[in-house]
Amino acid sequence: MTSTMPLSKAITAGLRKAMEDDPKVVLIGEDIGKLGGVFRVTEGLQKDFGEQRVIDAPLAESGIVGTSIGMAIRGFRPVIEIQFDAFIFPAYDQIVTQVAKLHARTGGNEKIPVVIRVPYGGGIGSPEHHSESPEAVFAHHAGLRVISPSTAHDAYWMIQDAIRSDDPVMFFEPKRRYWMKGDVDTDERGAATHSAQVVREGTDLTLVSYGPLVPTALDVANAKADEGANVEVIDLRSLSPIDFDTVEQSVKRTGRLVVAHEAPVFLGLGAELAARITERSFYHLEAPVLRVGGFHTPYPPSKLEEHYLPDLDRILDAVDRSLAY
């Protein structure tokens, strides 16, 4: 069945489905009960599943993640909501040292199927700490899977995959696209969660992005089409591991790669893509991989965020520079 819904509600639907399918799935986070979360992603779930399965937690992110580990050891599958991106850092230790590594530490004896949902990225005019994109500093650590949907359909399926996975998953939600509607087919899942998808085919240049910038990337491709250049757009979807094969195949055809993300360029995912794709496609590249992203600054106050965020023009600029090589 296919229905149209905003991306945020597709996550709600996916959570609901996962909770129906498996009584061990529990949600925990700040304000996710009666309020339904500050973005209303868990709206209605506490009413339907009770306070034991939709848990308003004390205001302590390390505690939320740490106790979720304990629940996972007890056999539950906790799904955590972190209220905003930058509020995940108090839990950094529990995430990278415990969630990520307990499976390896116990020689595979213990699985920690915890999902950590993180609304991330900017563009909603919020104060500091509400607009960051910290995916790279989690992806650097082994043991975590990091994924980010860019459409309602993917959001619906990928959150369920994340919950079903025996590995811990960081689920980055493109918050400024929460209200973007899309068709969700609840019968046909489509692409596997850990594969990148060519969302628009093209021959002249490969443009890779993920999460909130995928719609922008498609706009870029449209704009270039008007000028007669054919941009192939890839939605990465999985940020760790990265499906390099799909990107490599594309770049070997187009000879050019631009990567765009909101996170700072310096040591962002674009760096890894540039390094690895250049290594894999050295003789195919007609231009160096170009990156467009956030700056080496704190995420700025909202009056300046239009300058910080990669937009149509900044990505076009990089595309043009690449094509000019």
């Binding site: 700040e30 304000d31 009960g33 009666k34 309020l35 339904g36 500050v38 308003d56 937690a57 004390p58 205001l59 302590a60 390390s62 505690g63 930058a86 509020f87 850092f89 108090p90 005019g125 919020s126 104060p127 500091e128 700490h129 310096f266 700056f295 080496h296 600054t297 704190p298 700025p300 106050p301 909202s302 009056k303 300046l304 965020e305 300058h307 910080y308 023009d313 900044r314 600029d317």
Partner: protein, 382 residues
Amino acid sequence: MTSEISAGARAKRQAGPHMIQMLTPEGERVSSGEYDVFAAELDTQDLFGFYRDMVLVRRVDAEGQALQRQGQLGLWAPLLGQEAAQIGLGRALRKQDFVFPTYREHGVAWTRGIDPTELLGIFRGQSHGGWDPQANRFHTYTIVIGSQVLHAAGYGMGIQMDGDVGTGDIDRDSIAVACFGDGASSQGDVSEGLTFAGAFNAPVLFYCQNNQWAISEPTSIQTPTPLYQRGKGFGIPGIRVDGNDVLATYAVARASADSIRAGNGPLLIEAFTYRMGAHTTADDPSKYRSDAETEAWAAKDPIVRLRRYLENQGVTADEFAAVDAEADQMAARIRAACVEMAPPPPAEMWTHVYSEPHALVDEERDAYLAYLDSFADVEEHA
């Protein structure tokens, strides 16, 4: 129905028998043992000063909310209902003390001499800060819950290292104040703040405004036991004060600050109060709390009770009206200042990332400004 009743009952039970109160909601002065000496120092004029403070900061707050509704601010975090908790604290401090606020400390900011217009930058998205923390010894607002409590503990350790505590010189002996909420009490950083201050016997006043809510979560989600007891197991005695009673918050904060100043070690105050408004302008409290609860607390309004008391002391209607007029003027000034704020120039983004030269920052800024210029060229040539 039942939930409304139990919400009221819960608040009552949580307040407990040990809460220091000096002015009842009806504006009657009740005795409060050892704290009465501090009240005795205040004459009607002083109390009228507190009244003026509270009315003005409530107006600042109303103006903040109005400006947000009109799109002039992106967000506002109302202090409505917490005026007594904040003014009483702020007026009990001395110039040399250093306050580490949350994002809701507009009343404390006022007592530290921060002009209300300076508060707007953060909420309008002009900047992440807004004032020089050192100028008034009032730190920038901290949004990440609990972080500032450790900063206060460390500052207190610094006071101690400087020997600026327990000398008996009232203009020298200093304290650090850690403001935090009931929700924040759950953060590990807050407990670590208690740990460090306790272990080093540092001159730190932990000031918890328990406004009953952390966004949609009632205090019972954070703790089964009254928050004023939180510090005890860290060696830090605590006391609960009626946070809607400015006389009591002042007296208890004065007594505590004096004791800490004298070198007797850290203390914790829980100001038992209520967030009468929404968490922020982005919040809809009707989703999670009852009208009955809000109304019960409205009857304990901190301004109303002081006004009643002052009326009984002979303050005239004209005098009260003068404060309202002053508030009107101030509101107009705030509004004008807000509307006039031009967006910061893009280069600002890179200006204070480092205080010393940084190759990457320079490179990025220059490239971006050149890129912006290229549009100017296009526009010029178009």
